[in-house]
């Protein structure tokens, strides 16, 4: 069926794969009609998709350094775009984003703007130049551009801090989904998730991760879009929700005005289980100050352009030109999901709020709502709660509480979709969390094995030995991440945002100025990375321990302070020390034109 080169056959291979996955969904739907249990369907979805990823991971095994680190630099633009989109959209984007929009409205939507706008910076400031450089990892660029082991080491430290903060959240998310779908305790589910993640990346490195991420993107986008379109059609909101929900959005605003936002007393709120929230903010009105919105968006944009697991995806394209186009495709594939999240939030909120819809619960009697099947299920799962605070026997807007995850996980059931959709959503969430975790673990392990071990500790190491070290590190970092995830210290979304702030504090200006400012030198870069990371982390600790902060910079946007310090430190220190030598300046000139040889050789 498939002849010739794998790369030439990609559209066919993934076409067959997509068809196979759709057929699998239909088979499951038929099985459900014939009486297959909900639990069995959930297990089938997760087990089937993870098995496919593992097979792809095995088929992509390699013993070559450039295949392991940069997938042989032959990933076509569109496919690299899909892989980046999967790499990018984490468990948080998939499971928590619609919920965040549902509860917080406009103030939260700064994340949508930030997590997409950052790609403009990636495309115009960095990706094509780093591709021309020919590096394997981000610290590889810093170490070669600025020279010296200390600058390389600093970059490795910033990368590790940012990526490790992020990866524990992702392993946590795979654990949550695996524990729900497979019905096992969270502490074990975390390790089941981890093993699935390692199956994709261990044998093939970047090559394995690339081809599994493409497969994971296909699963997650089907799992996200299918329910949105289905629900929209089912409740008669329009066959193409993105263009047709204006009436629903204004209806929600009308209902908000009718019900009013009643503030609950602290005493009443004590009854509500931890992690659940009520609707307290307007859905489509502007509910945040301009600076609160802009500072969060700006922090996420600069963080996007500094996160190494995204940047290294553009090292895998065949050319500089392809790297630029590939950023566009990445954002297009991300756009498909991000523009659907607010629509899902709208549909979910309206179906619960509107008393004229059969699914609406506000205004119904408490006893009636408590008798609904889905309410009982999700109440048991600790994701829904109602309480009759004012004792009038009916559910008011301020008396209904829900967990953020429930918007994605429970809406299909509330709208009366068959269980097969819930199984599909679980598989999608698993794909989203796994693909991001894989990218992150690989970014850390590659930086440690290539930059720390090979470039600093043992430059004479053989390729075979380097790749053994890389794989051992991959497993060690994975287990360290899983162990911390099993302790359940932080929430998923908070730690994701911190990762962006850490990355921008330490890496944004050293990367950008490395290309755009010839005068930037080693001393400046080291000062920028060290002081940026330290001041950012210091600000976070200060605010967390009760500090008041300044200029409206919160614990979610501390990177703005960190990167400002980094910029000043880098410019001042660069200017008071000697300018870079002629060889370095020539290297920067060469990076700025796409033609000619890359700075670092094919095998290095």
């Amino acid at each position: 069926m498939i002849k010739g080169n794998f790369i030439d056959n990609l559209p066919k291979v993934y076409g067959i794969y997509t068809g196979g996955f759709l057929a699998f969904i239909i088979i499951m739907a038929i099985a459900e009609q014939m009486g297959m249990s909900a639990k069995a369907i959930g297990i089938c979805f997760v087990a089937f998709t993870v098995a496919i990823y593992a097979i792809i991971g095995y088929l992509s095994r390699t013993a070559q350094a450039d295949a392991y680190y940069v997938a042989g630099r032959q990933v076509p633009t569109v496919f690299n775009g899909m892989a980046t989109a999967a790499d990018w959209m984490s468990g948080a984007s998939f499971v928590a984003m619609a919920g965040g929009i549902y509860f917080k409205g406009y103030g939260y939507m700064a994340l949508l703007v930030g997590w997409t706008g950052g790609y403009v910076l990636v495309a115009s400031l960095l990706a094509p130049y780093l591709r021309k450089f020919g590096c394997y990892t981000v610290p590889d660029f810093i170490g070669t551009r600025y020279g010296g082991n200390l600058s390389r080491l600093m970059a490795v430290i910033v990368l590790t801090v940012a990526s490790f903060t992020y990866v524990t959240a992702q392993i946590n998310a795979t654990g949550t989904i695996a524990s729900v779908a497979l019905d096992i305790p969270f502490q074990y589910a975390v390790y089941v998730g981890l093993i699935s993640i390692l199956l994709c990346s261990m044998l093939g490195g970047m090559r394995g991760v690339t081809w599994t991420q493409v497969a994971q993107y296909i699963v997650l986008i089907i799992a996200y879009l299918l329910p949105v379109f289905w629900i929209s059609n089912k409740i008669g909101a329009g066959f193409f929700p993105h263009f047709m929900l204006a009436d629903e959005v204004s209806r929600i605003a009308e209902l908000e005005a009718q019900f009013g936002f009643v503030k609950n007393s602290a005493e009443n709120l004590k009854e509500v289980p931890k992690g659940l929230a009520g609707i307290t903010k307007a859905h489509s009105a502007v509910n945040a100050t301009p600076w609160a919105f802009i500072s969060l968006a700006l922090a996420m944009m600069m963080g996007t352009a500094s996160l190494p697991h995204v940047m290294m995806r553009y090292f895998t394209t065949p050319s500089v030109k392809a790297a630029r186009k590939s950023v566009g495709w990445s954002l297009f594939f991300i756009f498909l999901l991000y523009s659907s999240a607010p629509m899902l939030a709208t549909l979910s909120k309206l179906s619960l709020m509107d008393p004229t819809l059969s699914t609406g619960i506000i205004g119904k009697s408490v006893a009636e709502v408590q008798a609904i099947d889905w309410y009982q299920n999700w109440n048991q799962a600790n994701l829904m709660f109602i309480s009759d605070f004012n004792g009038n026997g009916t559910v008011e807007l301020n008396e209904f509480f829900m967990g953020g995850k429930a918007v994605v996980l429970a809406t299909p059931e509330i709208a009366g979709l068959p269980y097969v959709i819930s199984g599909l959503v679980a598989a999608g969430g698993m794909a989203a969390a796994m693909s991001t975790a894989d990218g992150l673990i690989l970014a850390i392990a590659n930086a440690l094995s290539h930059d720390l071990y090979y470039k600093i500790i043992d430059p004479k190491a053989e390729t075979a030995k380097r790749l053994v070290v890389a794989r051992v590190l991959l497993v060690v970092i994975g287990f360290a991440g899983a162990t911390i995830a099993a302790m359940e210290i932080q929430g998923i979304l908070g730690s994701v945002i911190w990762a962006f702030d850490f990355a921008m504090s330490g890496l944004f200006f050293p990367l950008v100025l490395g290309v755009w400012w010839k005068r930037a030198n080693k001393e400046g870069a080291i000062a920028g990375m060290a002081l940026g990371l330290i001041s950012g982390a210091g600000y976070l600790i200060w605010v967390r321990s009760g500090g008041s902060g300044f200029l409206g910079i919160t614990q979610l946007t501390f990177g703005i302070f960190g990167s400002a310090v980094s910029l000043v430190a880098m410019v001042v220190v660069s200017l008071i020390t000697a300018e870079p030598n002629a060889a370095t300046q020539k290297m920067v000139d060469e990076v700025r034109v796409p033609s000619g040889k890359s700075i670092l050789g094919k095998q290095h």
Partner: protein
């Protein structure tokens, strides 16, 4: 001026234009979020709301492809484009 310096000057010019457009739709318009939301935007959504869930996001996608094409033209003009296709 050398060919390389001219190429870099044009590249920098394109960067400035790209970043200016980026700034308007990621930061600029949100300075007036509250006022703009009174206006009805595309498909009948309130305007600021539409920008946060579709408008800005879509403009970024188009902007990147436009930027990539312009940069390719600049590279070709000075003979710095890569050989071979992608």
């Amino acid at each position: 001026m050398s060919k390389q310096a001219q190429h870099w000057e044009k590249t920098r010019g394109l960067l400035m234009v790209t970043l200016a457009i980026w700034f308007v739709f990621s930061i600029g318009i949100f300075l007036f979020g509250a006022e703009m939301n009174e206006v009805t935007g595309p498909f009948g959504y309130p305007l600021t709301y539409w920008f946060t869930c579709q408008g800005s996001l879509g403009i970024f996608v188009i902007l990147i492809f436009w930027f990539a094409n312009r940069q390719e033209k600049i590279d070709e003009e000075f003979g710095f484009s890569e050989r071979g296709d992608d």
